[in-house]
């Protein structure tokens, strides 16, 4: 039994079966990273291209490590997003890369929908969305859910609060899609200037009162808020933003005692989260990064469609 999709473009396309398979496979791949020799030959002879049109350290290296631990070759292809026409560059690059016959391309691009566009131009290569504009970041959602499952029995019925700049967050969108498909109660919260219209169509609670959102939460997921947004008139100052939506000890008391704090990184210390909390007892931020490797191993493995005889 494999995935119902040929590419991983977003959570939206996935069936519950796909989701369960990816989570199950991720769990079994986690163990490899704890071995003294962290490498298996499962994907030997396969190649992954990391095609990144945006700067990224953690996601790109996570894909790279995932490929290498499975014995695949990994090539990084960074393209300056300041090229004259990103579109032409993308399609031309896609065609060129296709000619080199890679098995998978992981793409990150500032424009929504570019993984779809790339998939069209580089068949039969599998495309993994590593973040497209404001649209989706599916591997991040999987590593988040995997991390939650390390601490909570199941996703169904969990209260999850997602707080911060919702408008500019593909992480929020993918997480909302995945968490709601798995039956969580999701609240999103942020200043109304940073919540896009129609967000309630995802079947989540939308509000701008942090206490209301966090009350009784099992998971508090903080989003990165870029300082530059102040200049774009989304909020008046970092100080005021932190007072209203920054996570500190006091606000954390509204959540359940057993609650965990998550953050997709990179953290803006003192903007959206108190530095002590980010390192403190509730925080699972480092585990998220660890799980990222396992999730990406599982996805690379499932997409390249290697037969059942898995050599772990």
């Amino acid at each position: 039994m494999g995935l119902s999709v040929r590419h991983l473009l977003g959570i939206e396309d996935l069936t519950l079966g796909d989701i369960e398979l990816i989570l199950k496979m991720s769990t079994s791949f986690k163990e490899i990273s704890s071995r003294p020799i962290k490498k298996v030959p499962t994907l030997r002879g396969k190649s992954l291209i990391n095609l990144f049109f945006e700067p990224s350290t953690r996601t790109r290296s996570s894909f790279e490590i995932a490929a290498k631990r499975l014995g695949a070759d990994s090539i990084n292809f960074s393209v300056s997003s300041s090229s004259v026409s990103k579109g032409e560059t993308l399609i031309d690059t896609g065609k060129n890369l296709k000619s080199m016959k890679p098995d998978i391309i992981a793409i990150r691009h500032p424009c929504a929908g570019t993984p779809q566009l790339l998939a069209k131009y580089c068949e039969p290569t599998c495309v993994v969305n590593a973040g497209d504009g404001l649209h989706e970041h599916p591997t991040q959602a999987f590593l988040d859910v995997l991390t939650i499952l390390d601490h909570k029995k199941e996703i169904k019925g969990l209260n999850v609060a997602i707080v911060g700049d919702i408008t500019h967050s593909r992480v929020a969108r993918s997480n909302v899609l995945l968490l709601t498909k798995l039956g969580a109660n999701v609240s999103v919260c942020g200043p109304p200037t940073l919540i896009p219209q129609g967000f309630d169509s995802y079947g989540v609670r939308v509000g701008f009162d942090m206490k209301e959102a966090i009350q009784g939460a099992d998971v508090v997921m903080m989003l990165r808020t870029q300082k530059e947004r102040q200049k774009e008139v989304f909020f008046p100052s970092i100080k005021e933003y932190f007072a209203l939506y920054g996570l500190d000890e006091k606000k954390m008391r509204w959540a359940r005692k057993s609650a965990i704090i998550m953050h997709p990184g990179p953290i803006n210390r003192g903007v959206e989260i108190d530095p002590d909390l980010a390192e403190g007892k509730y925080s699972v931020i480092a585990e998220q990064v660890t799980n990222g490797v396992a999730v990406r191993m599982a996805i690379l493995y499932l997409l390249t469609g290697v037969s059942e005889d898995m050599h772990l």
Partner: protein, 425 residues
């Protein structure tokens, strides 16, 4: 001489819906009635067909001068003829912008040489459509423009818009506005709402259109200028037009077929053939537009035919060019969605496509009365067409209706007495 025999003549200018023969001679309508055919005439069996005063598309982009790789006056006029249009008004956002007598003359001369249909240029309101100084509207009117507009680059400054409306009165020239508040619209790629949110695209607020529509009717009231709202797309904009019309303000508006058929939920897989300004709105807007088409709030249907090369469309959605072509599908789309669904009568459709745009632009057409210029559109109401962008006369292919099956197809287009298009050859 051409004799259209046995067709149903639908001409609201004469309150006509009747089976009549139509004789065209020397570029004019020679007679209308029961006509004995002569052997030397070109006799067309029009039985089962609908014969109307020539259709007028008052909002097209021909791209010449400047972007002849997208469309030319020739190719655009061929598309118009095949789509059943006998007259088109071309927007001034060419390169250079049509903001002068010289460019207006160039377009008119070129059209005279090559165009299959009547081409009426619109001139810019401001120099270079930059929104700062008035263009030489008088000189352009003298050269032949039928309207002024900074289409695609709407005048932001309320004072300049007011002055333009005041100044337009000297020539009684129509002022067309593409209504979009630039600040509110800035950064948006599709209609703001759940569809945009889910696609991860920045939304363009519907209020951007409404604000400018409200401004325009208010300025229309204080200036007495004739204001025409281009491609209206929201229910709130319609509210302002309705109010203004009730108050006797001289305002008219047009709608495109895509805005009364498609919604933002139709944008799938980031297909850039669904990207245009104003963007596709919601189902509730479409419902209200349909109502406004039947109750008369909307005066005419225009296409906003906006050709683009595939290079400019095969791109990430947010970077792709805005606009779609429409002249070769508009009539069939309107027939399918307005006539076959019994929203309007054929007479009302002819008002929307011919009588009203003629009245608004004052072209001296829009009738099949004896002695009138013989611009005639003939439609086969039962014919079926499957839209195939590869068969278009237009040089561009950016059309969201590829593969759609439609009924009610233009079969013959006569311009100044000359058949410029016959389906099948």
């Amino acid at each position: 001489m051409i004799l259209l025999k046995g067709g149903t003549v639908v001409d609201p200018s004469q309150q006509l819906v009747r089976k009549l023969d139509l004789l065209v001679d020397k570029g004019k309508i020679a007679s209308l009635g029961k006509i004995q055919a002569k052997k030397s005439w070109d006799i067309v069996d029009a039985s089962g067909w609908v014969v109307c005063p020539g259709f007028i598309d008052m909002h097209v982009h021909l791209r010449e001068p400047g972007r002849e790789d997208k469309e030319t006056i020739l190719s655009g006029s061929q598309a118009a003829a095949a789509g059943g249009f006998t007259s088109i008004a071309c927007m001034p956002n060419t390169d250079p912008v049509n903001d002068s007598e010289a460019i207006t003359r160039f377009i008119i001369d070129r059209a005279r040489q090559v165009a299959l249909v009547n081409v009426f240029p619109a001139g810019a309101i401001t120099k270079g459509s930059k929104g700062q100084e008035l263009a030489e509207i008088g000189a352009m009117v003298k050269a032949g423009i039928v309207a002024i507009t900074d289409d695609g680059n709407p005048v932001e400054n309320n004072q300049i818009m007011r002055r333009a409306l005041e100044y337009s009165r000297i020539f009684d020239v129509l002022v067309i506005d593409h209504c979009e508040d630039r600040q509110l619209a800035s950064g948006g790629h599709m209609n703001e709402g759940s569809a945009a949110t889910r696609l991860g695209l920045y939304g363009l607020s519907r209020v951007a259109e409404e604000l400018d529509v409200a401004r325009d009717v208010i300025l229309g009231r204080i200036t007495g200028g004739r204001i025409h709202i281009a491609h209206i797309s929201t229910q709130e904009s319609l509210f302002w037009v309705r109010q203004a019309k009730k108050q006797g303000i001289d305002v008219t508006c047009e709608v495109t077929p895509h805005h009364f058929i498609l919604t933002d939920n139709d944008i799938k897989n980031y297909d850039t053939n669904f990207k245009m300004y104003p963007p596709l709105r919601t189902a509730s807007d479409v419902e209200n537009i349909i109502k406004a088409i039947s109750d008369g709030t909307i005066d005419c249907i225009a296409t906003d035919h906006a050709p683009h090369t595939s290079l400019e469309k095969e791109m990430p959605f947010q970077e792709a060019a805005n606009g779609i072509i429409g002249m070769e599908t508009a009539v069939a789309l309107a027939w399918e969605f307005l006539i076959r669904r019994e929203i309007v009568s054929i007479s009302r459709l002819v008002e929307l496509f011919s009588i009203n745009p003629n009245r608004i632009l004052k072209l001296g057409r829009g009738t099949l009365a004896e002695g009138a210029i013989a611009d005639v559109t003939v439609i086969d109401p039962d014919a079926e067409m499957v839209v195939d962008v590869n068969e278009f006369r237009s040089m561009s292919r950016n059309c969201p209706f590829h593969g759609w099956k439609l009924h009610g197809v233009p079969v013959m287009t006569i311009v100044r007495g000359k058949p410029v298009f016959r389906r099948g050859n």
